[in-house]
Amino acid sequence: MDTSTLFDFSPLVQDFDKIIAGFWATIRLTVMSAVLALVLGTVLAAMRVAPTPVLRWAGAAYVNVVRNTPLTLVLILCALGLSDAMQLTFSDEPSTNYYWWAVTGLSAYTAAFVCEALRSGINTVSVGQAEAARAIGLTFTQSLRLVVLPQAFRTVISPLGSILIALTKNTTIVIVGSYIEAAAQMKQMFDDYGGTIPIFLGFAFGYMVLTLPTGFFFGWLAKRMAVAR
């Protein structure tokens, strides 16, 4: 067999600028979706522990529907359904429009997981804390914001880190939502140079550069912020 193309890493050098552009798109998708998912997930978690049954019911319904729908379908619904067929567009410029639709899909999906992680964190805060908060006259929102959530967040830093890593890798399918990131760039290079192992290895390495430090950082942060009980 011809081994010269099997170990030819030159496509990675030749298309270096395109690869960097691809990963830059991955980072922009991940960061924006992570921020929005954290906000939406926190709201959902608050709904799921709220004293109002309607809020609890709505929160549970959202989580169960979105968490059990494949992300590919969520993204196709956003791009082909809402954006193309129903003409709900963020912008006339396709790259801006589909970026925001991809972010919408990713954060809506990830928020369900953030919500569940956070809810498990809330369950670790002892009931006495919430009761004491109510006893000194704090409202539900105040006790959640000032007493329960700060402690809950500190216990779920590790799982949130795992969710962020999963989100980073989930961006690889946003091509179905009409947005180009690193994985779509890789597919393009397969067509330009033929499907070769070096291109694949280069992109796998690129994802590790993004996700490994994320994992280490969240591990360190979890240890540092751990609640002593």
């Binding site: 067999m1 011809d2 091509i175 393009q188 397969f190 499907g195």
Partner: protein, 284 residues
């Protein structure tokens, strides 16, 4: 302990290299020889292109490429039952041939200078052109220049958009278009029908197949801007088989089979089919 572990790793690595090397060896040396001796051929075709190569729910494949494959195999002495079709995607055509997983690739495989060092091409057996698929009611697109400012679908893992946006076409003309990425041609056609893109571009043969499937909501613009010489991919260096297949291709055009097959697959699609045999490119 450490040494033993390294030893095991070395043996494993050695076995892997040996395995890779074994992929290339063995078996008959030429396609011609294999067809004569075993009466069997493995042929790579597309599975997702209506009109050219499409796998149907019942497991059979149909299309112009498939019929060309059957004709060539028949002339090489292989009965239809001796042909095994395999899906050849654009990204794995070269490696399939190199590793001997297929004997021939007949899968809208354009003869290009970039591919010549890796593959021996027989043919071309058809001269296709890159064209645009547009909405039937769209009268604004009549030539390459009129694509200016239009939204063009950029299919993931395909280079067709470059011929417009980067000027690698017959007219050497760079046209300023807005690219809209999509995962595949089916998504592109969905976007075309909902006005999210104005143009889906690739070879006219493939577009004609889609136009036929979609009924009269989309049409081929009929404004070609490249020449795509469809070749028959053979393992690099198998010149003997290449020359023989070239003779069969010439025969396919002279006995009227090519015209008949084109009519069978593309009648009524608006595709302007080529009626004469393409100039042979020679084997190398």
């Amino acid at each position: 302990m450490q040494i033993r572990r390294i030893g095991v790793a070395l043996i494993a690595a050695g076995a892997m290299v040996a395995g890779l090397a074994a992929c290339g060896g063995g078996g008959p040396t030429s396609v011609l020889q294999k067809a004569k001796d075993e009466k069997k051929l493995v042929i790579g075709v597309k599975y997702d292109q209506p009109g050219m190569g499409l796998k149907k729910p019942d497991g059979t494949v149909e299309g112009f490429d498939v019929d060309v494959a059957k004709y060539i195999a028949g002339k090489l002495g292989v009965p239809e039952s001796g042909i095994e079709f395999k899906e050849a995607r654009s990204a794995n055509r070269e490696s399939f041939l190199k590793q001997g997983q297929v004997d021939l690739v007949i899968a809208t495989y354009s003869i290009t200078d970039a591919r010549k060092p890796q593959v021996t091409f027989a043919g071309p057996y058809y001269l296709a052109h890159q064209d645009s698929l547009i909405r039937t009611d769209d009268t604004s697109i009549t030539s390459l220049e009129t694509l200016k400012g239009k939204k063009v679908c950029q299919v993931s893992g395909s280079n067709s958009w470059k011929n417009i946006a980067e000027g690698t076409n017959k007219m050497n003309q760079k046209v300023d278009v807005t690219l809209v990425p999509a995962g595949g041609y089916d998504e592109c056609i969905q976007k075309l029908k909902t006005n999210a893109v104005d143009v889906v571009t690739t070879d006219d043969t493939i577009l004609a197949g889609f136009a036929k499937r979609e009924g009269n909501s989309v049409k081929v613009a009929g404004a070609p801007f490249t020449d795509e010489k469809y070749g028959i991919g053979i393992k690099k260096g198998d010149i003997e088989s290449c020359n023989e297949i070239n003779k069969i291709v010439a025969q396919m055009w002279s006995d009227g089979t090519a015209a008949k097959l084109l009519d069978k697959h593309f009648a009524g699609t608006g595709l302007k089919v080529e009626t004469t045999a393409p100039q042979p490119a020679g084997c190398s």
